[in-house]
């Protein structure tokens, strides 16, 4: 694999995580439990889709073919999406959406902190831009995990169930293959193992305060980085791609 191919693949993984989670959050528009949260979740969606745009633009530039960020976002088939499985999981109740966000925000925060030092200027610039937003996301999701976990019997029960369920997807966040090895050698990215312990430490602190339990041993799933997804992604893409598939190249 050439360095350019690896870089393109890496950028697509970053972009797809943000795009798919952003799309999931946008499904809350008009359905939030309270107005403030409706606005908060759609604000998060906007930040994530904005980040995805930046990653896709750079990916398109690296690829150097006749595709732009919209082609990459809307015109690929399911197997070409390389997001982790966590972000494509369905919204469930508000608590599940928050837990999914919480597990992802803590990862993104540590990853972007490392990417600030990337030898690749554009990656460092996107990370620097995004991390400022991610810190707000992180605070929001962590506060809600505590509030719901240490809340009523019902909220505790529900958010615990979601945490148990979604903890099957945390190891995949640290997935690495040839793509990462090539870029790591060039100083473009870091080894995800460098911040994995910190990740679990950070989420554990919040989980403790929320009086929740992270399952000690949990069956771990992966496949997203290779394009092998859960059944949920297909349904999501049907909606995400509808307009571009029906009216190719439409703009508004």
């Amino acid at each position: 694999m050439t360095k350019e191919k690896a870089l393109f693949e890496y950028l697509i993984r970053r972009a797809d995580d943000s795009l798919i989670l952003g799309h999931r959050l946008s499904e809350w528009c008009g359905h939030g439990p309270i107005l403030e949260e409706d606005i908060a979740l759609t604000n998060l969606a906007l930040d994530l889709i904005g980040q995805a745009t930046e990653w896709f633009q750079y990916a398109a530039e690296v690829e150097g073919e006749d595709r732009d960020e919209d082609d990459l976002a809307f015109m690929r088939i399911e197997r070409e999406y390389k997001n982790v499985l966590l972000v494509e999981q369905t919204n469930g109740d508000f608590g599940k959406t928050i837990v999914r966000q919480f597990l992802f925000d803590h990862f993104q925060n540590l990853l972007f902190e490392k990417l600030l030092e990337s030898e690749d200027e554009q990656i460092a610039a996107i990370a620097a831009k995004s991390i400022k937003e991610v810190r707000y996301h992180l605070k929001h999701s962590s506060e809600w995990v505590i509030r719901l976990g240490d809340g009523t019997e019902e909220s505790h029960k529900r958010v615990q169930e979601s945490l148990t369920d979604l903890s099957r997807f945390t190891e995949e966040l640290f997935f690495q293959d040839e793509v990462d090895q090539i870029l790591n050698k060039e100083g473009i990215i870091c080894d995800t193992a460098d911040f994995k312990d910190q990740y679990y430490k950070n989420i554990q602190a919040v989980i403790d305060e929320a009086t929740l339990q992270l399952p000690e041993k949990q069956w771990q799933l992966d496949g997203g980085r290779k394009g092998v997804h859960s059944e949920h992604l297909g349904f999501l893409l049907t909606e995400l791609q509808y307009m571009q598939r029906t009216y190719p190249n439409m703009k508004w």
Binding site: E37, N43, L46, A128, R135, N202
Partner: protein, 164 residues
């Protein structure tokens, strides 16, 4: 046509271009215009940077900048750069005053964001100046604002949140 327009004139013209979401601020007040570069003759390049990644106003800002300067008979390229990342420190002093008069609390110096649960920021009410206010939501009507309420005069208000 060759005119004797200077970079200073361009900055002056840009003072007419408003932020579409916070129309009391010009794009210069907001700090999104980073550079004005002369290319040749009437051809200029304007470098801008987004406030938030997904800020939907950026495209409008780009078009408005072009439109305003083309009125002066200039040929304009607008270039968007991400680095260095925009910060609320770039909002001008004049801009901060205008924000407050408009009813939006300007960004305050905040504790280090890398601390998960740092100290709470005190945001004075733009109406009655009371410091007895509470955060309603970190996320407000646009990406750049949080939602607060004054506990003295009861006014709900937007806070232009600090981004560093």
């Amino acid at each position: 046509m060759t005119t004797d327009i200077t970079a200073e004139d361009i900055w002056e013209f840009l003072e007419d271009v408003k932020d579409p979401e916070v129309p009391v601020l010009t794009v210069v007040d907001l700090g999104v215009v980073r550079e004005v570069n002369h290319i040749e003759n009437d051809h200029w390049q304007i470098i801008i940077t987004p406030t938030y990644s997904g800020c939907p106003a950026m495209q409008v800002i780009e078009e408005d900048i072009k439109k305003r300067l083309e009125e002066e008979g200039l040929q304009i390229d607008v270039k968007l750069v991400l680095h260095p990342a925009w910060t609320t420190d770039w909002i001008s002093e004049k801009g901060r005053v205008k924000l407050e008069e408009y009813g939006i609390a300007p960004p305050q110096d905040e504790a280090d964001k890398s601390v998960l649960f740092g100290e709470k920021t005190i945001v004075p009410c733009p109406k009655c100046k009371s410091k007895n206010t509470k955060l309603v939501s970190q996320f407000g009507s646009t990406a750049c604002k949080a939602h607060y309420q004054c506990l003295d005069c009861q006014e709900p208000f937007d806070y232009f949140k600090c981004l560093k």
